[in-house]
């Protein structure tokens, strides 16, 4: 059967795998990238004119809450993956804090089936570290690995028992699985709702101190050092965490880290007015932390940008601030936020952005994605870099609309998302 072909012409082509950054074409045959650069003479079934556009690998988002099974009112695998394609994401890691939690072979199989039947793009499975994420007993790590999990995390919670976490790291290392750490010390964060500081004082809300994150991070780094496990730090939010990660990397600990777009776009001032769409965990921090996160992205201390897409219904968000659920959606705004806050102001180049959002996450997860080189899977996005758009609820394909960027304007729009050589989204 003849493979269908696509030729994307005249764009600025970015390949983070080879550091290719030049105007050129991309020729796709079937589900693979065939040629990059000068494609004169390539005859294609479909030609996409992409002058003044950016063509880069599709995003690999390694922190997404799809909410299925259990909270299909917030999001499903189907709606979440549709939203992903709209945002330029063709591969994502689904977090296991569902109901039931993905903590054994059976639940991993359940999710696998749902993905097979309804996912609009590729979904990778993350299993829980402990049974039902309760932090008491290790989950069936071998069973999870067998049924498709490529990483482990209790995200939403940290494992408080250090001895248990040590066992988990060892088991994960043995199984060859990445451990993604949500760093939070609940005895310090308690029932806080915002960053501890002048903003929490002004609003009369209980504050979450930064120590909650970086002290637990310190512990996880020590355990990583001791056990040699591959460890990835989720949603880094503050400068102290950045410093600890930088030090750990210097000591050659096998550690990687991610941050979410809200931590380089917004400070805790966004919470003034009691906007629950600025409530997430870890909370938005001070302006100096935002600068530290940006610098860390530039210096490679933070390896990845991941959305931490956390859909919630109005029932959980349109209520009193202290009772509102933590979390914001992000699949459909993460690229634009990164372009607006990091690329257009000149903090990152397109190549560096692509490394953070495609190449590095793929590498950390150990999957063959995030490249725009000949022979790589044809997971590609075409981006209008200067197109400004207003962030409004009606634009989201996600079932939930709790975005921290509502009412703002962002620059950078995905005009086409190609997955395995097939156009899955276009404007």
């Amino acid at each position: 059967m003849k493979k269908s072909t696509i030729l994307i012409k005249g764009a600025k082509v970015i390949d983070p795998a080879t550091n290719f950054d030049a105007v050129g074409d991309v020729f796709i045959q079937g589900d693979t990238i065939s040629r990059v650069g000068n494609c004169q003479g390539c005859h294609a079934d479909k030609i996409i004119e992409a002058k003044d556009k950016i063509v880069m690998p599709a995003l690999v988002d390694m922190h997404v809450h799809l909410r299925e099974p259990g909270r299909e009112d917030k999001e499903t695998v189907a709606s979440g993956t549709k939203a992903a394609l709209h945002g330029g994401v063709t591969a994502l890691l689904a977090m296991p804090n569902t109901n039931p939690a993905i903590d054994c072979a059976k639940t991993a199989e359940l999710l696998s089936q749902i993905i097979k039947k309804t996912a609009q793009t590729e979904v990778f499975i993350c299993g829980a570290i402990t049974k039902n994420r309760e932090g008491r007993e290790l989950s069936d790590i071998a069973g999870l690995k067998k049924n498709g999990a490529i990483a482990l995390s209790d995200d939403g919670s940290s494992v408080d028992n250090s001895e248990l976490m040590r066992k988990a790291f060892k088991a994960a290392k043995k199984a060859g699985l990445l451990v993604i750490c949500h760093c939070e010390d609940k005895t310090l964060s308690q029932d806080g709702a915002v960053n501890l500081g002048f903003t929490s004082t002004r609003l009369g809300l209980k504050g979450i101190p930064k120590e909650s994150e970086y002290k637990r991070l310190g512990r996880d780094v020590e355990l990583a050092k001791e056990t040699g496990a591959r460890v990835h730090i989720a949603h880094v939010s503050c400068k102290e965490s950045v410093e600890i990660i930088a030090r750990a990397k210097k000591e050659k600990v096998a550690i990687s880290a991610e941050t979410a777009p809200h931590y380089f776009s917004l400070s805790d001032q966004a919470v003034l007015g009691f906007d629950t769409n600025a409530k997430m965990n870890p909370p938005l921090r001070g302006k100096d932390d935002v600068e530290a996160v940006k610098a860390a992205l530039r210096q490679g201390i933070i390896d990845c940008i991941a959305s931490d897409h956390a859909p919630h219904t109005p029932n959980e968000k349109d209520i009193e601030f202290e009772r509102a659920a933590f979390g914001v959606i992000g699949l459909e705004t993460e690229l634009a936020a990164a372009i607006t806050e990091l690329v257009l102001p000149g903090i990152l180049s397109w190549l560096e952005l692509s490394k953070l959002m495609s190449y590095n996450p793929a590498k950390v997860l150990g999957i063959n994605k995030g490249k725009l080189s000949p022979g790589a899977p044809a997971d590609i996005i075409i981006v209008s870099p200067d197109k400004e758009w207003a962030v409004g609820k009606e634009r989201f394909f996600s079932k939930s609309k709790n975005s921290c960027f509502l009412g703002r304007k962002l620059k950078g729009e995905v005009s086409c998302t190609i997955h395995r050589g097939e156009i899955k989204w276009s404007l």
Binding site: F198, R202, G204, E322
Partner: protein
Amino acid sequence: MRWKRKDLLDLESLSPEEIEYILTTAASFKEVTTRQIKKVPALRGKTVVNLFYEPSTRTRISFEVAAKRLSADVINISTEGSSVKKGETLIDTGKNIEALKADIIVVRHSASGAAAMLAQHLKANVINAGDGWHEHPTQALLDIFTLKEKRGKIQGLKVSIIGDIAHSRVARSNIWGMIKLGAKVTLCAPPMLIPPAIEQTGAKVTSDLDEALKDADAINVLRMQFERDGVEAFPKSSEYFKTYGITEERLQKAKKDIIVMHPGPINRGIEMSSEVADGANSAILEQVTNGIAVRMAVLFLVTQAKNEKKHNSH
């Protein structure tokens, strides 16, 4: 100036001119309360709903009296045995009340930001009668009114706020209001009851009561809560009284004509001694009287903001 706000949610966002305007209007209403017929028809036909999620007698009654003196109809909703206990959300409750054609909702709630949330979703006027630890604007306004009446102006006055600042909405509103009108504010509390970064408001911070009393023109003494969420918040109340209690002995080191205020109700023997509460320096009962005038002013002004048509008649 024109009063443009449909709601009164906090003092933090008010300009000094707006605060002065409320005080001036309150002075006119205070005159009304000295008449034989202590009533004006300004809010005749309007309905004021007191929506109190936290128990309160004095604030609720104060708002009720104020509304009635403006000839408004008053409905009191406390959440015992109401639909709220059946799980109705705050916004749903608010919308239901609005559907009954209530014009003004006075809300007290244990969650910071509750009043702001209601105001955003409702067309009715919303007045914050205390939301969590956040603000209690009418209390601070009546505190400021009382001080202004006695001292002529707020500018330059040294005012100390004493007590559990961290958990006090009265403190926050007073800090904003007093500083905006030019007072020099000192906060005095045990170290664990001082909220983070509070100096950024411009207030001075100390844990030494004598320092707070020295040269102060007025002190505002906050209520001390000894149980919070079932956990003891401060070592025994007798210890609090020893270190932070306002007694006549302590006031020896202060100005002779220092004004002593308290939002009430007073824990005699804990925040202050009975002698001070009933003594010559105490303005506590005047605060209560002024509270009516201030709340009349606030109720009156927010209804003005709803309408934009111009008119002229003699």
